[in-house]
Amino acid sequence: MTTSIDKMTAHEAIAELNSGNVSSEELVTALLKKIESRDAEIGAYISLDADAALQDARQADRARASGKSGRLLGVPVAVKDIINVNGQACNCASKILEGYISPYDATVIRMLRNEGAVFVGRTNMDEFAMGSSCENSAFKITRNPANTNCVPGGSSGGSAAAVAAGEAIVSLGSDTGGSIRQPAAFCGCIGLKPSYGRVSRYGLVAFASSLDQIGPIAKDVEDAALLLGIIAGHDPMDSSSVKVPVPDYTASLKPNLRGMTLGLPKEYFVDGMNSEVRDAVMRAVAQCENLGATISDVSLPHTEYAIATYYVIATAEASANLARFDGVRYGKRAEGSNDPVEMYYSTRAQGFGEEVKRRIILGTYVLSSGYYDAYYLSAQKVRTLMRRDFQSVFENCDALLAPVTPTAAFRIGEKANDPLQMYLADIFTATANLAGICGISVPCGNTSDELPIGMQVLGPAFKEESILQVAYAYEQEQKQVAKVASKQ
């Protein structure tokens, strides 16, 4: 191996495997070793499937030897604990799903399997993807590899931390209000939330069905493009997936931004945001301009309603989606009840964590008779306005540049008892989910405490190639700068 396992990307791994420098078995073994040495500190994984992964790796090696190929043949992928993999646990970091073994593959897993991917383990998350810090996991907390006193972000914190710590080559996360982009920013990796309907949700345990999307977390943009190209596309099992052709996302990546217009939404550069974050993002904006982009100031006037709108819609859908966890058919069942109703009460009381209960109650409330119009219906109307905001801005812009979060990673425990503060961590990311557009998080420097800062590139629905292009050109420029700096 010319690259060490903890720095290796998927496209490098494929090159190494194809050239015969390394076998998949060696790759997976090295990765498992890395996890063994590092994960006690980081806590990125909830469970490992070492035996199955090694078996699949050996099978991939045999397949390659017999002349077969696949875009990820023999490459290990880490999976967020909310995506079903046949035969594996799928706990959603919740006690209520203890003992549940998935009887089926999510569509994305099937697609990755078809390309030869190997599944090493399941990454930690906020319970049922509800949270921004991974502190809401029922099993463990995950630490930020850049500073282990800090959170990795959430809810896909385990997936981001695993990639950042070199414990995964690439991983899958899910993003309902920022759950891929925010932890990617906190941990310093690439995180892509595809447009709603771009990637099948079949097999993704639903939090908020009209907002959820699965996406890749990776070490570089090329990997994000590679993964997206595999998992994107219409799925007859998911009626909300859309029949739009999937372009070759890696082929179109160019190192410059000539001819592109990038918008700067003023509502995303608010007073009171961390100045280091603002400065880092503005430096990145300047670099994009140097790469040939035209920068244009734009406005998304309904941004201020994003958090309120998001928490009404997401919790309403969650209150129904999580009703199925009742102890009747699978997962945890509280013992000692005399009738079904009592069994529901105690199973759900014991099985769900505080934040999940809070959101179920909130969602139940906003859907209740007499409140529906004031909350849920109003939220849907605001959502339409926000979608129009983006549509009109994208008439003149190819993509938008913004911070991913108002601050860099916060300390573990800092916001754990203040749900409202925690909700505000989604302030710049939830809009993309509400509008159904795509977004990618790219590292754009560090704070003085050496905590990563992320820039967000937002693009029109089904224009993932645009945001990948912007992220790629900027990333390549950063690498050049770093190379020059290291020579001096």
Binding site: I82, I83, N84, C90, C92, L97, Y100, S102, P103, Y104, A106, R201, Y202, G203, L204, V205, A206, A208, S209, S210, P236, M237, D238, S239, S240, A316, E317, S319, A320, A323, R324, F325, D326, V328, R329, Y330, P340, V341, Y344, T364, L367, S368, S369, Y372, Y376
Partner: protein, 475 residues
């Protein structure tokens, strides 16, 4: 004191589809528990529904049959409540934008035809079935996710008889359209009723009660009769009817309370985000309209005008679409439609009931029955012999002419042969001849019977009649 009753129905009809509403599992009845299940219909984490287009087609067809307006845009909603037979603890149903709006069904009670207005027809998924054992309970989810259309009426029925007639009419239409098998024993048709009684004919409706989940029409009728008189007694004694949901106890013949208005569920409906809205173009709806079968009532009047049948016959025949189809197939081949109607209504329906089979499985083809009727009409066999032939065909199959030959049932209509038999009967029964001459005309019938016996039933009875009569009055 007179009372006015208002009854509205919610009829859940299982649609005739091969697979469930939102997954590919089979809808076959009677499989061992939990063998027709998958992650989708078991509500497993991450599983998602996909639409069964056939269920939508069938529901629209039903709407078109009863003159509903078909919504070009309709959607599914989640109806939330916790119950062990409900895999997701929400049911995918349609709340404010159902597939079909309005329409009506004519019923006929006591010779009076009356339209019953239908409010809406929507589509939803069935739930599982709770099973209780000695120590434990279980749920069979084979039924969970089977498509149901719910037909909701206005409170237009004024008596249990009218409700009963409506259920028959709706069943008949559903079977005509082929949208449901309407097999009550398999729970294909389940009914909730709303019922209120008032004393002022012009005044607003009284407080209603709802009786849930009945699966026989007789049960609905009995429950309504009980409930109407219960409410009348309350009003008579100056009491107030409570708005509540009731359960019909068929064994006790009474209704008992399930929950009051205060305990009513808040179903927290909201649009199902996992399914896209259903958009039906005018073209699609028109295409479906062209495939509509004839309504039972229209067919009844056509049978009267086209075949010259009495209205009664037409009513009996159209009651079951397959029977009416059979009748028409035979009548097309026969010159005597009334005889066809007689055979189908009496012998055929009796034998079907006795042998517990359906007309689709009958051995007697249209050609065979038409041929049998023509053998009688030509005088080749007597109608008595024809019944034997019919029985033989019903049980064993075969062509009527062959059976007549092999059983030697050809009718004797040779004057000389019959005359010999008449003479013999009179010689053997002098007392009867004497009785006749003494004025006992009934004695002739006895002698006719004797002649028929001597001919082993093969003599043409009309000829025997005539000849016995002339012989007696001549001698």
């Amino acid at each position: 004191m007179s009372f006015y009753t208002a009854i509205g129905l919610e009829v859940h009809v299982q649609l005739r589809t091969r697979s469930k509403m939102f997954c590919g599992c089979s809808t076959e009845y009677g499989a061992p528990p939990n063998t027709h299940v998958c992650p989708v219909c078991l509500g497993y984490p991450g599983a998602m529904p996909t639409m069964n287009e056939e269920a939508i087609r069938l529901t629209v067809l039903m709407g078109l049959m009863i003159g509903s307006r078909i919504n070009s845009y309709s959607k599914f909603d989640r109806k939330s409540y916790f119950y062990p037979d409900m895999p997701k603890n929400y049911q995918i149903s349609q709340y404010d934008q159902p597939l079909c709006i309005g329409g009506s069904v004519n019923i006929n009670v006591g010779g009076v035809t009356k339209p019953i207005r239908v409010t809406r027809i929507h589509l939803e998924e069935d739930v599982g079935k709770n099973m209780h054992f000695e120590q434990t309970s279980g749920v069979d989810f084979n039924r969970a996710g089977i498509p149901l259309m719910e037909i909701v009426t206005e409170p237009d029925m004024a008596s249990p008889d009218e409700a009963f007639a409506f259920l028959h009419a709706i069943k008949q239409i559903a079977m005509y359209a082929g949208v449901s098998d309407c097999d009550l024993e398999k729970g294909n048709l389940r009914v909730d009723v709303n019922c209120s009684v008032r004393m002022d004919a012009e005044g607003p409706l009284g407080t209603k009660t709802e009786i849930k989940n009945m699966n026989t029409f007789k049960g609905v009728h009995n429950a309504l009769e009980y409930e109407v008189s219960r409410q009348e007694e309350i009003l008579l004694s100056g009491g107030i009817v409570l708005q509540e949901t009731l359960r019909w106890d068929a064994d006790q013949g009474t209704t008992t309370g399930m929950r009051s208005k205060e305990d009513a569920h808040d179903y927290r409906y909201f649009p199902e985000p996992d399914l896209m809205p259903i958009c039906l173009s005018g073209e699609t709806i028109d295409d479906l309209r062209r495939t509509l079968p004839e309504l039972p009532a229209a067919r009844r009047s056509r049978l009267v005008s086209q075949y010259g049948l009495p209205d009664y016959d037409a009513g009996v025949l159209v009651a079951d679409k397959a029977v009416a189809d059979y009748f028409e197939a035979v009548a097309e081949l026969s010159s005597n439609p009334k005889a066809v109607s007689n055979w189908v209504m009496t012998e055929m329906l009796r034998m079907l009931a006795e042998s517990d089979t359906t007309i689709d499985n009958v051995r007697i083809g249209a050609h065979e029955l038409a041929e049998l009727i023509s053998l009688v009409d030509c005088g080749t066999i007597s109608s008595t012999a024809a019944k034997d032939v019919f029985m033989e065909m019903f049980q064993q199959g075969g062509r009527p002419a062959d059976i007549v030959e092999s059983k030697g049932l050809r009718q004797v209509s040779d004057v000389d042969a019959i005359e010999l038999l008449v003479a013999r009967a009179m010689t053997e029964n002098p007392a009867s001849v004497a009785d006749y001459k003494a004025g006992k005309k009934a004695a002739a019938k006895f002698l006719v019977g004797q002649v028929m016996r001597l001919s082993k039933g093969k003599a043409d009875p009309r000829m025997v009649d005539r000849m016995v009569e002339s012989k007696l009055s001549g001698s």
